[in-house]
Symmetry: C2
Subunit: 272 residues, 2 copies
């Protein structure tokens, strides 16, 4: 998918919501556990109930790998379902991978080619040759961790590196990499003022923003400081939507939560 197609979808749906499919077997409705593939059935129900309200789904690979072979199968079925039924959706493999060049190339093939996700998240610690293999795929996107929304973000990411915070150095450096136009960035919503600084470095890039709602970030604030002319934001919500209920009405209740966010987003989009 091209960035332009993503922007078009946002404008059509009046939403820049990404729903995180972090499926934990201990949290989903128990009636699903009797089915052959509870994870996929859960995802399918959530997708069916919310796909007109969001522009992106983001399964986090950890939740699938925690179920071994069966989990990998559920991931495969989920991405296939999305690609077949909703090809307009921007799909994100939240994998946070990164390794030496030839090994990163294997991850890139796994997620962007074989599973055919539109994008994959990567970690920056190993530098240029650990990320460039992901960037080589045309019309695919690599979403690099910049400033995350967790407490540990302040251990290293905000440390001062030769006069600048590490996350800024990471973003700045990544702009020099080959095919850097295929980069997006993870920026947590916990401190909206950071977005001002980040927009000075990458005014045009898309930012994937976790941490709105459950983790305390404000949608209004993030949009105030982070939105650009082409929207440039994907706001992720996982638990707040998919676990709104753990009863038979889970999909309906997920839709209600997604609708609330979409409506807030529509107001913001109409204002601009």
């Amino acid at each position: 998918m091209t960035t332009q197609q993503l922007v078009q979808q946002i404008k059509t749906k009046k939403s820049f919501l990404c729903i995180g499919l972090d499926v934990d077997l201990t949290k989903i409705p128990t009636h699903l556990l009797e089915l052959e593939d509870p994870i996929f059935e859960f995802n399918k129900a959530i997708i069916d109930a919310t796909h007109d309200l969001c522009v992106s789904y983001k399964p986090n690979t950890a939740f699938y790998e925690a179920n071994g072979l069966k989990g990998w199968q559920s991931l495969q079925k989920t991405i296939n379902y999305l690609n077949e039924k909703h090809p307009e959706i921007f799909t994100i493999a939240d994998a946070k991978r990164g390794d030496i060049g030839n090994t990163s190339a294997m991850y890139a093939k796994a997620f962007l080619e074989d599973l055919n996700f539109d994008s994959v998240t990567v970690a920056p610690y190993m530098g240029k040759d650990s990320v460039e293999p992901f960037l080589a795929f045309e019309n695919k996107h690599t979403i690099m961790l910049a400033l995350t929304s967790n407490e540990g973000a302040f251990d290293f990411q905000t440390k001062n590196v030769e006069g600048n915070e590490l996350y800024k150095v990471v973003i700045e450096t990544s702009k020099t990499w080959k095919n850097s136009q295929n980069l997006m960035y993870v920026v947590g919503a916990t401190k909206a003022e950071y977005f001002t600084e980040i927009r000075k470095i990458i005014p045009n890039s898309f930012l994937l923003v976790p941490g709105v709602g459950a983790q305390g970030g404000s949608l209004q604030e993030v949009c105030k400081y982070g939105m650009n002319d082409e929207i440039g934001l994907l706001i992720n919500s996982s638990r707040g939507i998919i676990y709104a209920s753990n009863d038979k009405d889970f999909a309906e209740r997920a839709r209600m939560e997604a609708l609330k966010m979409q409506q807030e987003m529509e107001i913001i989009l109409n204002k601009d």
Copy 2:
């Protein structure tokens, strides 16, 4: 496995060799491709031929994920084979994972509990709460990226952070984390002098060292600067051993390469 058991194994085998099982279907002998699970058959043959010469095997998950479901199955069969036939071997899931706390906990469960590896590699960028869930497993080990052996290591890891290089800050900080006694570190062999600096911060920790041989590092130099009283080193070799031949003699030839390294290590161990 306890660290003491690993040290004992090193002393018994007179080897601190780790063999990287980075199995690429385009590089293994073609006669294996006719078998039902070529990756597992390749690993089994390599393990059978080399297990007395090394103390550790390290499958890199990228090479398995690149083959989807079948790849995950090969990984599972490989670790099960190691745990059943060679329980003395220290097994490493080279996964370089790291995510927010509850998500890292899923990865930790996947690799340390379900697949039952002795250890897993992790990336430090997301800080304390992204690593601590791995450290919570008793007699399991978390091998954190500190200074890697690739070119991109110099993009961020060696940058100056408030007077110290980032990789040193990462190591120093990690010592304060809960259960930090379960930490080991990845330190590339490309510049042996770095080991002197690292040993000042963590004199007793085990270091997993890629980059000897193929990537240009010298075993002698690494041992000179990096070895401690309890050895404290695992030297990894992947391609140099497992792809010594891509013909029917591949396992035999892998053994010859492993033997060369073991013999070099025996000389070094006898000297001390």
